[in-house]
Symmetry: C2
Subunit: 732 residues, 2 copies
């Protein structure tokens, strides 16, 4: 190790960092060194540039709006078609049962899940830029829609009188309820589509960036909890109300538990068998990923077998097992959504639109990276928006891409969205031809499908120990997203999580690490003196470093940290100065005891600093306390400087912006220090920041460009020179 | 000027910046240069430190909790007492009419304003750290309280049947209404006190920092609008309902305008006379500031004269001028607030508590700065909290310090809170002895007092042009605070304004300025090549600078900007590489046309970049487009490098933090570039950021500390050496 390093050192010995130049300050830089380029492009030129070459641009715009135009004409039929057909059929086989199952989550009859697995998928082929994702129904989105549908059309709205004469009872009008819920889901989807489309046109694809990874993972884990809880009743065959809104998870569990005695044993057994089977298939697929040409389609097997069993044994009639029930054959004619429902759904649709998009774009990016092409976030938003908007006129609910299905599409060799197209056509075939065969399909089998699909999400709990090690803040985001989404519901939970994520950024910019820097001799590099042995301070110079910008929310903190860290407090020094002046007067006049004031000042210094926890501060206190008492001692009282520190250098290397409040605070503190003969200079200020300071009219009165230095080392050299003989040696 | 600079240059010629050392990278720094200090203080030591010297600490705590203990014993009677008495009497003379007037704003009977001008002022003497501010009633706070009181106890709740038999009519039970409004105001005040006290104990004084200056000024201007609108009806003598909540300003104006025909001419004349007189006095005081020993007490003159006139001419009876009415003599016994009202008031009390505190602390700081002492934000919170909490048991409404009164107290020579104490005692005297004499005081005179006091706030409109020049973001904060507070009411307006101010910080960290740096020859300094003529790029090296940290909300933007600014896009290069490999294969096998793929790639490159507006990007496109087509041309196809750029240096000097999303994005982009033979290194990373990267386990796989350099110049020197002969000369 030692030898290696030595060898490298030899090799590097020729490669030297060698700079020899005068010490610069901002004044010199402005007057002699740098000439700003004249900005050659005027507004008019830029406008002209923007408006020219319109035919090329029109073509580009058309291509970017309908990506199919760019890839379909060049579709290499021989190479791609076979893979796409295999992949399309495999995906269709998953699309079908998931459509039925997720319709249950969305609180609408199963056939609407099939519609949602057809129209949007077809449309995405034309507008989408990703070649591998499989759009369609998705558990989290479906659950969010279901929550809204249940809230807007609760069971309690649909009890109608039943029976004749005296023994009238209220029974639930399931058909009216479901019709209403479909209306709600459809109108929500229209709105989601409009929002996504408009955000895409406005190039607002970046909104998804606030959904940072820990947030999305915490949120989806919470969604998985919601889904599993909502499916418990189907798995057990218990008939309870469906809850929505804050604390719905708790109410749902309570309702299921209180009704657990009415569990339908046949349902439970069938559900558990499906669950175990699906889990086994998933495990096999995972384990023999490379050996299997296509994954075993466990879900369609479960659907076919359980439908057959249910039909053969008449489970619905003989064992009271809940089945899917009526599935109309054929498609519905287009119809305008019930727009009167809109006003209540605005917030929800924003949540669905953003979650849907962020799920889609994150998967699309993963595949794009893997296969070396690029996806366009804004076009993806437009594509999803159009899929949702147009499809909603055909009674679908909102879709995005599903992780599990996309993995199937990609792993079975899908090359383009031709695969997605085929999958959607397969669903169409079922809808128009053989939909009715699924009528005896037990709901518990669908619940099993949903649950197994979400098992992967529970694995995200494993994030927690990892995040604990790497980043407490991100762990906090994960936990807040999870807990808020479980307890408050997915919509409010998402809002809370996003707000929290934004606040963490504020917190980070506002909790800077402050330190005093020292020079690593001979290198021109400056490091924290508390952390590195080699860093040495110069006599009489304190270099204050804070890794933050200076703006309204932290200018106070900055100034306080400056005073504390440097151990030079202008208030105390001013008090000392006053005391000294007074003594001077009194010495000239009556001969009062000057020691009294001195003692008072020292005591006050102690009172103020005794609360500090920092050992360094304590050390410095000792130091400055000592020096000030020394300078206040009778011999020196009329000649000594107030503080052993004659210069403070503010290292602004990490500062990236400043506002008027920050600039005022800095000006103020510079004046305060100037009043007690401590010079404050600024080093490492970037050119951007300097032009901001110019705009803020910082360089007035005592503030001159001569107090700005391009590097800390420039500042140190100049300040050492301007105070050549410090009165006291540094004690460090 | 030229000569001066030359002279300075000569003087500086000896002062050289001279560094000669090997080029460092992070690996070398860690292994050879820097040794982290062992952190000598263990948790136990720190705990021990925290717990020791408890007697001193106890004393310090007591002194900081009851600041009067530290200044009263040392009170220099001879020097200070006379000034304090003069100042106290002057302040009391202002305190009195303001108390009566602001009670109107708070929608409670005038005597409660007198109570509020006594108890809290008395208490502040003991707990406050500011020597010059005058606490007591304040227009903005009073108006906020009034809004809540009117909302919780609207007129409509207090119509009682009146009359007998058939001609029963509903009349307003003013007494019941006012009693209820007092209850609301008092309970609100209790809660405000508790909130302020607890925030103070928790050392949350910093919450006020979110109230940045433009926000406060926009907000108080809006408050002035609210106040003037609410006083219009008193000035005109029109009897309209009082509105609260969003759009109340508009409703109020509408109500007054629709009733303008019922204007009471006597009221209007009296009001206008008072208005003109007060304005004149204010102007005189301003103009002859230095010549007047104490300011002319215009307000008390107005009160006395208008009371006399009103009494003498029986304005109330003969001219139907609204007067103050019953003022009970003496104080009320303490009583517990009506806590059942609490739940509705929580949000409001937070708003009042924070606004009140921020008004207080900002004034206190101004005076402390002027007179060279320091105020403690947390103790101020505790003091205000105690004043409000304790006083509320004596039926006061919330107070803070008032700007106009504090200026009187300070300018008349007040040295300590003894002045405040005297002012409060003067109010006490009025309350217990001669309160009743103010019963004929016309309300219009009070309205005039309120309006003139707020004229100063309208001057804040002049901020707008100034802010337009210095900072558009701060102008936006001002305008949002103003408009939101005018339209939504002060409480929601404040919330919106704070949220907006926080978002601007996010916006700033997310809209970094990106640039490509070049070396200013011989200096080791690097500047934006687009801005400075002297900055020159090295062959094959692009230095990318972005003045932001890299975290979840901007890692995507960072990576995109990197690809665009450097003009080196790994996707395009990879496509080119693939195309080249394919051609290689085909050249080895069948002899298909290689030009087709090449043309396709170029076209794609154009399609992607045609949307860019940036001239530089265009230039660079030409450059890379050229070089890539060149490298793809048949002669070079098997030997040329993919890109003329062999190294990209990321300048992380301004980065202050990074999170896992940012670290992943950087890792990813480094890998992408590595795949196309472009080396990416990082320069200027601070030690803090390096330790964050260590925690995030950044240095795995291909990421080594050897790619981190302490300065950009180190990185440039090393990278130049590792690529000694660039294949293509730089075109710049």
């Amino acid at each position: 190790m030692e030898q290696e390093a030595a060898a490298r050192e030899d090799a590097d010995s020729q490669l030297m960092y060698r700079i020899e130049r005068p010490v610069y300050d901002e004044d010199f830089i402005r007057s002699q060194l740098l000439n700003p380029k004249e900005n050659s492009s005027t507004l008019r030129q830029r406008l002209a540039y923007k408006c020219r070459c319109s035919s090329e641009k029109a073509k580009a715009t058309a291509l970017s709006f309908l990506p199919i135009l760019s890839w379909l004409p060049a579709y290499p039929v021989k190479e791609y078609l076979f893979s796409d057909v295999v992949s399309g059929l495999s995906t269709g086989v998953v699309q079908l049962p998931q459509g039925l199952a997720y319709a249950m989550l969305a609180a609408v009859p199963p056939v609407y899940g099939l519609y949602s697995s057809f129209y949007p998928v077809l449309l995405y082929t034309f507008f989408g830029t990703s070649r591998h994702i499989s759009v369609g129904t998705f558990a989290v989105i479906s659950l969010m829609i279901g929550g809204v549908a249940v809230r807007e059309a609760p069971d309690s709205m649909f009890y109608v009188p039943h029976g004749n004469g005296s023994n009238t009872s209220l029974i639930l009008d399931v058909e009216a309820r479901d019709a209403r819920r479909v209306q709600v889901a459809v109108v929500l989807t229209t709105l989601v589509g409009i929002i996504q489309f408009v955000l895409g046109l406005l190039r607002f694809g970046f909104v998804a960036i606030y959904l940072t990874e820990p947030l999305v993972r915490g949120f989806t884990t919470a969604a998985a909890v919601h889904v599993v809880v909502s499916q418990l009743k189907y798995l057990l065959g218990v008939k309870t109300q469906r809850f929505a809104g804050p604390l719905s998870v708790i109410y749902s569990i309570k309702a299921v538990l209180s009704d657990i005695t009415s569990t339908n044993v046949a349902t439970l057994i069938l559900g558990l068998v499906c669950l175990v089977f699906l889990y086994g298939v998933k495990d096999l697929n995972e384990r023999f990923k490379k050996k299997l040409p296509i994954p075993i389609p466990g879900e369609i097997i479960v659907v076919i077998v359980s439908t057959s069993v249910s039909f053969g044994l008449s489970l619905s009639d003989d064992y009271k097992v809940d089945v899917v029930g009526k599935i109309p054959t054929g498609l519905l004619p287009p119809a305008a959504p019930e727009f009167s429902l809109l006003p209540n759904l605005v917030t929800d649709s924003f949540a669905v639109a953003i979650v849907g998009f962020s799920m889609g774009i994150s998967l699309a990016k993963i595949f794009a990276l893997k296969h070396g092409y690029s996806v366009d976030g804004n076009q993806e938003l437009i594509a999803l928006g159009l899929c949702n908007f147009i499809s909603s006129f055909f009674q679908t609910f909102a879709i995005t891409c599903s992780m599990s299905r996309s993995l199937v599409q990609e792993s079975t060799g899908g090359k383009t969205q031709i695969a997605g197209l085929l999958a959607s056509l397969m669903v169409l075939l079922v809808v128009v031809a053989i939909g009715f065969v699924f009528q005896p399909l037990p709901q518990t089998a669908l619940a099993a499908i949903i649950m197994v699909n979400l098992l992967g999400m529970f694995k995200q709990f494993r994030d927690i120990p990892g995040l604990w090690k790497t980043s407490k803040i991100e762990l906090a985001i994960w936990l807040v997203a999870f807990i808020a989404s479980v307890l408050l519901g997915l919509d409010y939970g998402l809002l809370v999580a996003i707000a929290f994520a934004i606040l963490t950024v504020i917190y980070r910019t506002q909790s800077p690490k402050n330190s005093i820097l020292g020079h690593v001799p001979g290198t021109g590099l400056y490091c924290d003196v508390d952390e590195y042995e080699e860093a040495a301070e110069y006599e009489g110079i304190k270099i204050f470093h804070s890794n933050s910008s200076i703006y309204f929310a932290n200018s106070d903190l900055y100034v306080n940290a400056l005073k504390e860290k440097t151990g030079v407090n202008p208030d105390h020094l001013q008090a000392a100065q006053k005391a000294r002046n007074k003594r001077k007067e009194k010495a000239n006049g009556t001969n009062n005891s000057p020691l009294k004031m001195c003692a008072k000042y020292n005591e006050r210094g102690v009172t103020h600093e005794v609360l500090s926890l920092n050992h360094v501060a304590e050390e410095q206190k000792g130091q400055t306390g000592h020096s000030s008492s020394e300078s206040l001692s009778e011999e020196m009282v009329f000649i000594g400087p107030l503080s052993a520190v004659h210069t403070i250098i503010l290292d602004w290397t990490p500062a990236s912006f400043i506002d008027s409040v920050g600039a005022k605070a800095i000006k103020q503190v510079i004046k305060e220090y100037a009043a007690v003969d401590v010079q404050v200079v600024i080093a490492g200020c970037s050119r951007n920041l300097l032009s901001e300071l110019d705009t803020l009219q910082f360089f007035t009165e005592a503030m001159t460009p001569e107090m700005m230095f391009p590097t800390v080392h420039d500042a140190v050299l100049r300040c050492q020179r301007s105070h050549p003989k410090p009165l006291q040696p540094d004690r460090r």
